[in-house]
Amino acid sequence: MTPADSTTAGTGAGSQPRPERGPDRGTDPAVLERVSVAIGGRPILRDVDLAVRTGETVTLLGPNGSGKSTLVRALTGLLPLARGSVRLFGTPLPDFEHWHRVGFVPQRSSATGGVPATVREVVGSGRVGRRRLLRPTSRADRRAVEAALDVVGLADRAAYGISQLSGGQQQRVLIARALAGEPDLLVLDEPTAGVDLPNQRALAEALARLKERGATIVLVAHEIGPMAPLVDRSVVMRDGRVAYDGPPLTQEVAAHTHHAHDLEAPEGDAHDHVPHVSSPFDWERRTRP
């Protein structure tokens, strides 16, 4: 791809200079500088430097427990930083206010709650970042929801109950929810885990359409699968540090990194770094700084 190609591909938010053009990165969608994150006092991420440029699609790879989710949660302000800084669109995280520019698909998050909800309602909740308080749903809200449903190919399921959909379709609903906010930066944490191949293809198509519009995508993935053609850059995490940052790894290499390390990875559940808290009144500080 030549630089000329890439500028025509990016419309709207995508008109920023590409990295090869020069050092003007003041408004890059996401910049992490020497970021360390501790959970329950134990350092998990250490000294992570990462800059995601406008219009770029970056995959975060790495074995289970290597800190991909932690990185993504620090990037979206869900976890406090122990050290370092995160800038979103040029603004340091504590001062960042334009949250509607960021779309997030949390890992293993469930679309179903204790009360039934339709696909349209769940996707509609993606508009909260753009809605004003105590105002009815606007026409723009409705249009964005329909467009998001269209992108993930679920327009014909809008009136279905969420629990009537398969796991892969529910995952697509969550992506549509993030898209409904019309984000410039989309962060997805393992959207393809446990999703069958046709649904993975549908996901890849949805992301491709988004990429065409100039959105920046940070994708945490276990298996890249059908997403491979979209990827501009790969970042491999290993034990809380960046082990590789460069051109997209082929599936093989990525898989190799992955499996080789899987064997060394400590066994146990997600809490293996921190002892369990055993009194009901003990708690960890998890608030935003």
Partner: protein
Amino acid sequence: MSFLDLFALDFMQRALVAALLTGLAAPAIGTFLVQRRLALLGDGIGHVAVTGVALGLLTGASPTWTAVLVAVLGAVLMELIRERGHTNGDVALALLFYGGLAGGVLITGIAGQGAATLQAYLFGSLNSISSEDVWFTAGLTAVVLVVTLGLSPQLFAVASDPDFARVAGLRVRAYNLLTAVLAAVSITVAMRTVGLLLVSALMVVPVATSQQLARSFRATLLGAMVVGCTASVGGLVLSAWLSFRVSVAPGPTIVLLALAMFTATWPIGVWLRSRSRLMAPFPEVSATPHRSPVEHPHEHGRDCGHPAVPHGDHVDYVHDGHRHAVHGEHYDEH
């Protein structure tokens, strides 16, 4: 005095107004609690509010006021424990429940009041509602309803996925605290009619009833309010009618009526759910082994009685643990 004469009585009219308001507010906020799988939070707040009532009896202040105050404090405390707490958060909540109830009973005793006084607050009472109480509860209910319905897009987003809501820029913590406070307020509103020990039923049972039939969140919310109103007004009238013969508190009548409505809709819900499960499309897996059964004695069709489940571009007929797809003259196993 006949049954209809009852409605001419001041205290009965006040009780009806209070019941109507309770029936609207409790299920509205209850829907969001059920969405967050915190159905029992209301019960906990109710128990803590008993201490509030007792403090009112002890100090001579209005028990409604002290109940609101203590319930709000308790709700905020519970929300903070739940938010920060680890796996044992539910134990912490349980400690608070029992402390609230035991403290309330103890303080009532110290205040020199008998069990009968407390009973009116625990299970509701028709004639304990003063006219200030009605105005007070009406005002509170209006606030609860306006805030709950007005902020429902935000509350829904926070209740269904707090991480997503936070990245969308919502102050999740503030909304969670708001939900807890609204729950506490609607519980104290419901205290006079349903009583503190049964109030949570009015936050949960109408929602459970409504979701048997509803598929959307909005329909569940509105349906729960309809069920809640019907149950609380109907239950109040029923208990007034019964009170000619036996002494019954309105609380149990209201709750049993709500449960009866749930029992009536539940079989329909079971049927709807099982049908939607059976008719859910099969996943489209690309490489299906093409295997034809040797012989098939039966011709599948629209009225053959076997569920025809969508599968990609065709339908599979489900029978005897098979999925048969028509392929020319024969059936394929899918």
